[in-house]
Amino acid sequence: MLQAGRDLQLLMETLGLRALSILDTTRRLAAFTLITMGVLATRAGTAHRVIHPLVRNQLVQAGILLLPIVALVGMALGFAIVGQTLSILTQVGQTSLIGSLFVTVIFRELAPLGAALVVLARVGTPTVVELGTSRALGEVEALEALGIDPVHYLVVPRVVGITLAVVLLTVYIQLFAALSGWVFCFAANLPVGAGDYLGRIAGALHWFDFPALVLKTLAFGACGSMIACYQGLSRPLRLEEVPGATTRTVAHSVVAFLLLDALFLVITLLLPG
């Protein structure tokens, strides 16, 4: 009995410490985000001929170079979800539901999440390594000594570039999913014409889907990039600590994406219509 009580106490202490640690990380991340937003707002025009090429470079890294893999993800979603579901709907004579299904599953949920996860895997984790190594090798202090704001030079271009890339890649996933879904219908000889197929998708879209999509993808991109930059820069790292920071970035980002997704789902359900 006494042992069980001690075990329970130990469990509660462990859970309590874990909860405090999560709260502390959240507080620090929020402070880092506020600082970055402050720099973004106050230094918008500062050194733009140095900073804008860095943003463009991030857009290339997180956007254009990821187009092939994003196309693959979009096509896989199209084949797996639209194509197969349409095949089933045809059997039960409910092909009219394909528009609602596409908008609900792919347009609102899987495309933003897929784009965010691809960017996290291909750009977010290298960002932690780059920034963590920069910090470990003292390059951040070197920037400070030169009067260059490290947040402005290292964080802002990454956050802006990655955030915009997630928005654009989401649109690409949606387009490729729609296209591959129709290709599946065509190849499987399902009785759904291209005009009918696109018309049903367009008919299922509500006006709030567009601002909600932009806000959601902006939130995913900003959240993932901010977590990556925070893990890389927030505290002095030793080189051997960089892999651990990378792992934390993936775990924290995935949790953040799911929480944001849940938040947007609730908002969508609360909206009329």
């Binding site: 500062t46 050194a47 733009h48 001929r49 140095v50 090429p53 780059e130 920069s134 090798l137 003292g138 390059e139 202090e141 070197a142 920037l143 400070e144 000594a145 030169l146 009067g147 260059i148 704001d149 030079y153």
Partner: protein, 239 residues
């Protein structure tokens, strides 16, 4: 007219970053324009920490630290258009930005503070590359340059904004005699007034393991020992 010291420390202390115990205490030190100071001390005495504190990169405890009459505060926000008047060369390879090329490293501060693109800034700092014999390394990735040359690139980067004070953290540590001699000659030029700085004499503060010999006049010496800064009398070199 009262002459304002370029750097003044009154009762300043520095704590060890790892153990939060005092590293240096009660430093009183005045650096005037065109001085050349050598800061000596045993390994771990706090030479680098004191130098970084002068640059505002390490927090101080107690007392006041001013540069050009203004307090030096770690992490203090800088007003728009602010350009550092102090250059710093870090120890052990100068902490170059590895993802930039050599010329871009040198040009970055100029490009950032004067809002010009890196290619334009490279054109403007090219005279410094020539003066420091770095032209052949201009396009090399900074991460692949040897430590001795990286140190020289860091010097060029620190000079690119035309600072009034140059802080050097053990710049010639581990260098062969040829490179050490080059550094000594170049620092003498800077101190007297380099043509690329319009002949304006520069204030130098350098940490070193071994004071330079054979210089006339010799640099002034400050020595760190047991957490205290001792300002030594100017030494006289044999004629």
């Amino acid at each position: 007219m009262k002459v304002i010291p370029v750097i003044q420390l009154d009762g300043v202390g520095i704590r060890r970053s790892d153990r939060n115990v005092p590293l240096i205490e009660d430093v009183h030190w005045t650096v005037m324009a065109c001085d050349w100071w050598e800061l000596t001390g045993a390994h771990g005495a706090g030479k680098s920490a004191l130098l970084l504190a002068l640059a505002g990169l390490v927090p101080t405890t107690g007392g006041t630290l001013t540069a050009f009459g203004e307090p030096v505060i770690l992490g203090a926000p800088k007003p728009s258009g602010w350009i550092p008047r102090m250059g710093l060369v870090f120890e052990g390879g100068g902490r170059l930005l590895r993802d930039l090329r050599v010329a871009e490293n040198i040009a970055l501060p100029l490009g950032y503070h004067h809002n010009c693109s890196l290619p334009e800034a490279v054109d403007r700092v090219w005279p410094w590359l020539e003066a420091l014999d770095l032209e052949r390394l201009a396009d090399a990735p900074a991460g692949r340059v040897g430590r001795v040359w990286a140190q020289r690139i860091a010097l060029a980067r620190a000079l690119s904004l035309g600072p009034e004070i140059l802080l050097l953290d053990n710049p010639t540590a581990g260098m062969d005699p040829a490179h050490s001699t080059w550094w000594q000659g170049f620092l003498v030029q800077l101190h007297k007034g380099h043509p690329l700085l319009q002949g304006r004499p520069m204030t130098l503060i350098e940490t070193t393991d071994a004071p330079r010999a054979g210089m006339q006049p010799p640099p002034r010496q400050a020595h760190l020992e047991n957490g205290r800064l001792l300002l030594l009398q100017p030494r006289t070199e044999p004629a």
